[in-house]
């Protein structure tokens, strides 16, 4: 990375003469995926992804060319390709951008961590994961026990012809731990935080053997418990949603519809449009007065924390929804120029080989004042749902249906029996206006996923979501086949 940056600094001196603006973003990312299944090593894979995206502005249009040849010749070749195509495309550009969409930026960000990721040896990680799968084996009905750790170390550097120099280094760990129980025709799975939802910026300190063993034992016990559980009833009732499902609810029904590039129509052919219109900002009562949602790229240790987005825009915490009122969209400097609306620093690419687009980062529901006990006590009849297992929403982000792994029935203000196959569905704005209680700060759970898909060409990016448990009144719920 150091050599490449030095080469690029010299190369930029020449390239800046031929275009209105030139930038280059270097990424070197090592991802190691370690999987243990039934106490045996299942898969050990690593990927070193290293390359550069050369970006040019010509005639008010921005275009890109990616190369893994990081020599001066390689960068020059990518620059010439990008410039040639960008000039041709500029004759039919979607928008004439001003230079303000690429501000001069300088700074450095590093993920919080106590121990560097490479201080966890492969042998230690394998041992910790094996401790989790071994602890799940509470009976012969647990037929599958798996634990996966994905370790990601990213170094990035962004240099530009107007003097930007941004270094950002990230250490992340994403975990996927699950137990599957089978008894006759019944199959149930419990996972830690739901499928692919447990991710944070953290170091090797996460690999605590006792924590993994305890989690494994709990998952095994809950998977088996679900084998004997009743189906979730079909009715309209009150629902308490725990943080590991709130994550998905926030992601699909707040994050995506507020992306300005969706509202501007860029995503119409793939991820979809949005029910939110430009005139809704400042006017739409998105949810009840208890609903406060922030874009918070500065939250300590959350998966999508950073100091600058990929345009060099400095990242700051902003309220998207305050007291239920929609205030601000998830739009980069480019989208802000196009839409004439306020936005955030969210111009992000999944790697060196993709152009940045409007993305979520950390989108969080701010805590309220209720304890979990108070929320449960306020429910005469309802259901408490945990851990996402199914998700689907329409292309305008309105009609959703989500499913969870585990639920508890609430009767007369008390948690009673366990329920299996809990699902619920609704309409986005109607649903958020049913928000009746928001849990306190000590109940906030922080989750993150590496698989937020969007964009053409497609990009899967990391996002984080933090939320306390929340109570919604009068939600349509249902179960599985009896």
């Amino acid at each position: 990375m150091k050599n490449s940056s030095e080469i690029a600094e010299k190369w930029l001196q020449g390239a800046r003469q031929s275009a209105d603006w030139v930038g280059v973003r270097f990424i070197r990312e090592k991802t190691s995926s370690r999987t243990v299944r039934n106490d045996l090593p299942e898969r050990n894979q690593s990927f070193i992804d290293e390359g550069a995206m050369v970006e040019v502005m010509a005639d008010g249009h921005l275009g890109y060319a990616a190369t893994a040849d990081l020599s001066a010749e390689g960068l020059q070749r990518a620059f010439e390709r990008a410039l040639r195509t960008t000039r041709a495309a500029a004759r039919h550009k979607a928008f004439a951008f001003s230079p303000a969409v690429r501000p001069k930026a300088a700074g450095h960000y590093r993920s919080p961590r106590r121990l560097p990721l490479d201080q966890a040896s492969l042998a230690e990680i394998t041992d910790v994961l094996t401790a989790a799968t071994a602890a799940m084996k509470i009976s012969g009905r647990i037929v599958n026990r798996s634990a996966n750790a994905m370790l990601v170390s990213t170094e990035s550097r962004f240099l530009s012809s107007n003097g930007s120099d941004v270094r950002q280094d990230f250490d992340m760990v994403l975990l996927n731990i699950m137990a599957t129980a089978v008894d006759g025709r019944e199959t149930q799975t419990r996972s830690s935080g739901g499928l692919n939802s447990l991710g944070n910026q953290i170091g090797a300190e996460i690999f605590n053997r006792d924590d993994f063993r305890r989690d494994g034992e709990r998952l095994g016990r809950e998977a088996e418990e679900l084998l004997r559980a009743d189906n979730c009833p079909e009715e309209r009732t009150d629902v308490i949603i725990m943080p590991d499902q709130m994550m998905l609810q926030i992601h699909e029904s707040i994050g995506h519809p507020l992306e300005l590039d969706r509202i501007l129509g860029d995503e119409r052919n793939y991820a979809g449009w949005s029910f939110v219109k430009p005139e809704d900002f400042g006017n739409l009562r998105y949810g009840s007065a208890l609903m406060n949602v922030t874009f918070d790229p500065g939250r300590h240790g959350q998966l999508a924390s950073y100091a600058f987005d990929d345009s060099g825009h400095a990242a700051t915490r902003e309220f998207l929804i305050k007291d239920g009122l929609l205030l601000r969209g998830l739009g980069s400097l480019e989208s802000q120029e196009r839409a004439g609306l306020p936005g955030v620093a969210n111009f992000r690419s999944s790697s060196w080989n993709r152009a940045p687009i409007d993305r979520m980062a950390n989108i969080n529901l701010e805590p309220g004042a209720f304890t979990l006990e108070e929320m449960i006590a306020s429910v005469e009849k309802g259901v408490l749902m945990t851990s996402n297992r199914s998700w689907s929403i329409d292309d305008e982000r309105n009609k959703f249906q989500f499913g969870c792994e585990h639920a508890r029935l609430i009767e007369d203000g008390r948690l009673t029996k366990t329920l299996k196959n809990p699902n619920y569905r609704g309409l986005t704005v109607d649903f958020w206006n049913r928000l009746t209680a928001v849990g306190s700060a000590d109940l906030v759970g922080t989750y993150g996923t590496a698989y937020c898909g969007k964009g053409e060409p497609n990009q899967a990016i990391r996002v984080g979501h933090a939320s306390p448990p929340c109570l919604f009144r009068g939600v349509e719920i249902f179960g599985g086949a009896s």
Binding site: L40, P41, N44, Q45, S46, F47, I48, D49, E50, H61, G63, Y64, A66, A68, D69, S71, R77, A82, T85, A88, A89, R91, H92, K93, A94, S121, A123, T126, V143, N144, T180, R185, E186, T187, T189, G265, D266, R268, N269, G272, W273, N353, R354, A355, I357, S390, S392, D394, D395, K399, Q401, N421, N423, R425, E456, P457, N458, A460, G480, A481
Partner: protein, 448 residues
């Protein structure tokens, strides 16, 4: 790299590189190398105008080392410069040797073999970026087109230390687009190895005709059960969702398959349903990441009955099954549903009164134990009465068990099946696709 010579240059580069990496391995070490590469142009359109243009040249080498009953795989991007890439490849080998020492033995590891040699190349004729931009802007003038043009070479290659050597390279393009009229839209896809201006205009005209139908007044359709015709693109969405474990032997044995009851023999589908993996379609290489070559045809569902599940050699060893050279994830790579007896021109007449569904969106298993699938209607979905389209509907959510929809509710499949090439580009442009007919289904359940 010049786009025209990418495939030829890369073939020589990979052969020289793999010669160096595979020669001189000590006894007891086996290595399999995979190469995935592309030289791609992406043009993203919104309102007929270019939102972003991106060119990507990337080459990824994966090295899998097997030794003493242990294995590990390390991959990295290559620079395209031989000396540098040889050093990078040797560094991967050193790192893999270090990792192997730290791992316990893997009883399900399958020893590497020589699975033969193959060579398939499909050169194309692709437009230059400038010409393509002008063409889309001119032909789509007056419409509101959003979408992505992708073109260039995609390469997948495999060699191992036992002597196998596979090479698959193709040049192709796809223009995956939507035409909008206000909030209503029709979907189009123009793809192939050779760009033709005439064929593109014809494709666009057909999509415009669909869009005209959507100008009729919207018909309010309440949740309920409706006889429905699913056009091939809608069926393709369902078939894609089956790649999430439904046809995987490993998922079945691990209790993760939504088709568990089918795999157990407890459930069957309609005798009209035939599903198979067909590498004869030429959409994807028949070799997998180990270089194992799948049979040209693998019958998965025949007359509604279970035949084979997709089974990797690792799953075969672990569970005592027979491998059919499935890939690591045991997802279909080139699946097709065989046609039926319904003439496409009679589809609306046979539908009578109900829903015509051009496309589906965001499918997911809502109750895996009963193979229940939920998702949304999207694009040109219409209400039909007495065989005539009345008007477009507002999008509906369905929630339906495939044991019912592809079982007793399946009335017929069309005689014509369409190829739906894979246009996904997560990480890189993908190879593969599906061939599917339309389906007429009774009492399809809509819930929201």
């Amino acid at each position: 790299m010049n786009r025209a010579g990418f495939m030829t240059w890369l073939k020589d580069h990979f052969q020289r590189l793999s010669d160096d990496l595979l020669s001189g391995l000590p006894a007891g070490e086996d290595v399999v190398l995979n190469l995935e590469a592309e030289d791609s142009l992406f043009l993203r359109f919104n309102a007929n105008r270019v939102r972003q243009n991106t060119e990507v040249e990337q080459i990824v080498l994966s090295l899998r080392l097997q030794k003493d009953g242990r294995s590990t795989q390390i991959s990295r991007t290559l620079s395209g410069r031989f000396e540098r890439d040889r050093d990078l490849g040797l560094a991967l080998l050193r790192e893999a040797r270090e990792e192997i020492r730290a791992l316990p033995a893997d009883p399900h590891l399958v020893p590497l073999k020589n699975h033969g040699t193959s060579n398939a190349e499909f050169p194309g004729q692709l437009p230059e970026a400038a010409a393509l931009v002008e063409s889309v802007a001119a032909t789509a003038a007056g419409s509101d087109l959003a979408g992505i043009f992708a073109s260039g070479a995609v390469v997948s290659a495999n060699r191992n230390s036992r002597g196998q050597n596979h090479w698959f390279a193709s040049e192709s393009f796809s223009l995956d687009y939507s035409l909008y009229d206000g909030r209503k839209a029709a979907k189009g896809l123009h793809a192939g190895p050779r760009w033709s201006e005439v064929e593109w205009k014809s494709n666009l005209d057909r999509t415009r005709e669909q869009l005209l139908v959507l100008r009729r007044p919207v018909v309010a359709v309440k949740p309920g059960r409706y006889r429905s015709y699913l056009a091939p693109a809608a069926v393709s969405e369902i078939l894609f969702t089956l790649s999430w474990g439904a046809l995987s032997a490993s998922a079945w044995k691990q209790g993760q398959s939504p088709f568990r009851k089918f795999a157990d023999g407890e459930k069957t589908f309609s005798p009209k349903l035939h599903l198979r993996e067909n590498f004869g379609l030429g959409l994807a290489p028949a070799f997998n990441g180990f270089g194992e070559v799948a049979p040209t045809v693998v019958n998965l569902i025949e007359g509604g009955e279970r035949r084979e599940l997709l089974t990797s050699s690792r799953s075969a060893k672990e569970f005592g099954l027979s491998s059919n050279a499935a890939g690591d994830g045991e997802a279909p790579r080139s699946p097709e549903i065989l046609p039926g007896r319904l003439e496409e021109k009679n589809a609306l007449k046979e539908l009578g009164t109900g829903l015509y569904l051009s496309n589906l969106h965001y499918l997911n298993w809502s109750d895996p134990a009963s193979a229940r699938l939920t998702g949304m209607t999207r694009y040109a979905c219409c209400w039909v009465e007495n065989g005539e389209i009345v008007g477009p509907i507002k999008d509906l959510r369905f929630d339906e068990s495939l044991y019912d929809a592809f079982g007793p509710k399946l009335i017929d499949l069309t005689t014509h099946a369409e190829i739906d090439p894979d246009v996904m580009t997560y990480g890189a442009r993908q190879l593969g696709g599906r061939r599917v007919p339309g389906m007429l289904i009774d009492d399809w359940t809509f819930t929201l």
